[in-house]
């Protein structure tokens, strides 16, 4: 009950600090829109033609249509299209960077379509910066008007650990490739939540500033109860902020949040909980609003850079360091569900473990009467 009281009033006090709350909401939305509109800042600029390849083994109607697409003038304006001898070679060329994308149309594609079977075009691409894939995708869409069972992708590259370079995207619907706005919508939301650790921090330092902590110390309430209440109240406020940003970018700006809603909310809630606890830990350790804010900004920026908050990270070192950033887990989990790439459950577990650790640490510190 006392935890609930502390949580409620912590929440209410955050709510009254409406300028801070507005800033936390407005910042990620604004920056998502600004950076998201500038597609070139995110995707490779198409100055020269992009080298792509294909292997068409199908002699039927589908194969003919695909050939026609690849050799059309419109395609030639953007892409430098090469025919490739076999699928393995195409994959290898993407991996080595010679090609940006490669599509394999299997031999019996037309026949199987006619028999009513589903057909897959295997696609290899360099990942997010890719612009070949949407074209192949739109080909599938137009072809689907006649034959509904054609799909793109689905086959993993055979060589095990080449995952960093050759990413396979299973693409079924429009917008599944992250556009800039989709990417930034997620990463800046997560970043805003991390900065929102300020709320956890304020929940501690604001009291010390105006001596109200001495009354909390004198009250018959345990340090652990106060800590938990402040954590819950701050997490709640932060979660409300996160949901507002999420709803705004999803419905207001149509960023791609095409994951299960329950999963998105779970990830956001866990991440808010981590963030609030981190803010509290920093406040307990530094015991000063100024120092705590500074540390929080540094930690947050570090985590965001490491997790690829500003641009996707592709290096191995970064991937290792990113294990320390809670945003990596949250971001990977969301991407896993939205774009069907990466491992959802391990990232979710990682985030869960992370939150247990930081909340436990905050609990240990808050329990000792720091309040």
């Amino acid at each position: 009950m006392k935890i609930r009281t502390v949580a409620y009033y912590t929440f209410l006090r955050h709510l009254r600090d409406y300028i801070a709350i507005l800033a936390l909401i407005a910042f990620p939305i604004a920056i998502t829109i600004i950076l998201g509109a500038d597609e070139g800042g995110f995707k490779p600029r198409v100055v020269e033609q992009v080298p792509v390849g294909y292997l068409n083994e199908d002699g039927g109607a589908l194969g003919a249509a695909f050939d026609k697409l690849m050799t059309s003038d419109a395609t030639g304006k953007t892409f430098e299209v090469r025919k490739v001898e076999d699928a393995d070679q195409g994959e290898e060329m993407v991996r080595s960077g010679e090609l940006d994308g490669f599509v394999h149309v299997p031999a019996d594609a037309s026949n199987r379509l006619n028999l009513g079977d589903s057909v897959r075009l295997e696609y290899y691409g360099k990942g997010k910066g890719d612009s070949f894939q949407p074209m192949v995708e739109s080909f599938i869409r137009s072809y689907n008007l006649n034959a509904t069972l054609l799909r793109l992708g689905d086959k993993s590259p055979d060589s095990g650990d080449s995952g960093e370079l050759v990413r396979e995207d299973q693409v079924e619907t429009e917008g599944k490739i992250p556009r800039a706005i989709d990417y930034y919508a997620i990463s800046f939301l997560l970043q805003a939540i991390l900065y929102g650790g300020l709320l956890g921090m304020f929940a501690i330092t604001k009291n010390n500033g105006n001596h109200s902590h001495s009354r909390l110390l004198a009250a018959p309430v345990r340090g652990s109860q106060v800590m938990l209440g402040k954590w819950i109240g701050s997490t709640g406020m932060l979660f409300l902020i996160a949901v507002i940003i999420f709803v705004t970018t999803k419905y207001g700006y149509e960023a791609n949040w095409d994951a299960r809603i329950g999963l998105i909310l779970t990830v956001l809630l866990l991440f808010c909980a981590v963030s609030a606890a981190l803010g509290m830990i920093i406040a307990y350790l530094t015991r000063s609003t100024m120092v705590a804010s500074l540390v929080l900004v540094i930690v947050t920026t570090f985590f965001s850079v490491v997790a690829g908050g500003y641009s996707p990270m592709e290096s191995k070192v970064m991937e290792t360091i990113s294990k320390f950033a809670p945003s990596s887990y949250a971001q990977n989990a969301l991407f896993a569900d939205i774009y069907d790439k990466g491992d959802l459950s391990s990232n979710l577990l990682g985030l869960l473990a992370y939150s247990f650790i930081v909340v436990f640490l905050a609990f240990l510190m808050g329990r000792r009467k720091a309040i």
Binding site: T5, N210, S212, H213, S214, R215, A218, P220
Partner: protein, 310 residues
């Protein structure tokens, strides 16, 4: 005994803030801790309230060792901290609701207690305002209101009148007496001698973390002084009257200045009614009468060689 403090020691690194301090507070009294800034009053109180550790000695509240019964002790205590401890971003009502709940109050009882505390401190019409907009005196009053919601057995007030106007100060001093009448024992700390003299039944004078004198006001003053001065304004003064008064047991000196009579008497001797009898026998009317006792200020000055205000 509601509070027993014995040989209490508190160190901050090498600095000894409390040096074997000791005193007792009886149930139902207003006990004053009088001492200059830095004497150790706030430190003593925070130890008694159970949130500061100490390095030696014994602190008991209601017969229980404070550090072993932290929660029980805290439930029965109301603290008015020296620094105003309010949430500036919550309204007066919300502040009271918050703290009332922390003391376990709920529902109708809580609402009744909040109303009562607001009325008691004269803040009923400001309950929806935030302390941000309050004057210093109103903040001090809300600071008190937050401490009395749960009807504590003991209310500890740490310099509750610092930095406020005389009217608010008076209001606060009156309300302390009222709280005491309603059944709470009170520990009142101050470095204002007049306040302590006005409301406290017993007083401990502290300096440098030690109790340098301890007792009722008259006990304390009699420590340093054995005589007091009575000034009587009369319609007329005559020689036989003065000679008569001089012969009263307990009177050391009597002198007249116009119609003003100054009598120096020994503290504790019952000479005053005799003096008045002599005056009335000589057909003179008493216009006014006042007694000058040695002040606590002078007690402090005598014991420490310093003034309280320094």
């Amino acid at each position: 005994m509601i509070v027993e403090v014995k040989n209490l020691i508190k160190r901050y690194q090498d600095f000894v803030a409390l040096d074997h301090i000791g005193f007792t507070v009886k149930e139902g009294e207003i006990f004053g801790l009088l001492g200059p800034n830095g004497a150790g009053k706030t430190t003593t109180i925070s130890i008694l309230s159970g949130f500061t550790k100490y390095d030696g000695g014994e602190v008991k509240f209601l017969g229980k060792e404070v550090r072993r019964h932290e929660m029980e002790v805290k439930r029965e205590l109301g603290i008015v901290p020296q620094d105003i401890a309010l949430f500036e971003d919550l309204t007066a009502w919300e502040n009271l609701d918050y703290f009332g709940r922390l003391y376990g109050l709920r529902g109708k009882l809580l609402n009744a207690r909040i109303k009562e505390a607001l009325e008691f401190t004269g803040l009923s019409d400001r309950k929806k305002d935030r302390p941000k907009k309050f004057s210093g005196g109103m903040k001090r009053r809300l600071n008190i209101a937050c401490a009395i919601l749960h009807h504590p057995k003991l209310i500890i007030m740490d310099e509750p009148t610092v930095g406020i106007d005389p009217q608010s100060r008076n209001h606060i001093l009156q309300s302390i007496k009222e709280l005491n009448r309603m059944g709470s024992s009170i520990i009142y700390t101050s470095h204002y001698m007049e306040e302590v003299r006005e409301i406290c039944t017993r007083i401990a004078i502290v300096d440098h973390g030690r109790v340098i004198a301890n007792g009722t006001q008259s006990e304390l003053t009699s420590l340093i002084a054995t005589e007091e001065k009575v000034i009587i304004e009369l319609s007329s003064v005559n020689y036989t009257m003065i000679e008569g008064i001089k012969r009263v047991h307990g009177v050391r000196e009597c002198a007249a200045q116009g119609n003003r009579l100054e009598v120096i008497g020994k503290i504790g001797e019952k000479y005053l009614s005799k003096v008045i009898q002599i005056v009335s026998e000589s057909d003179a009317e008493i216009v006014s009468m006042q007694m000058e006792k040695p002040s606590l200020e002078s007690v402090f000055l005598t014991l420490t060689g310093r003034s309280l205000r320094d």
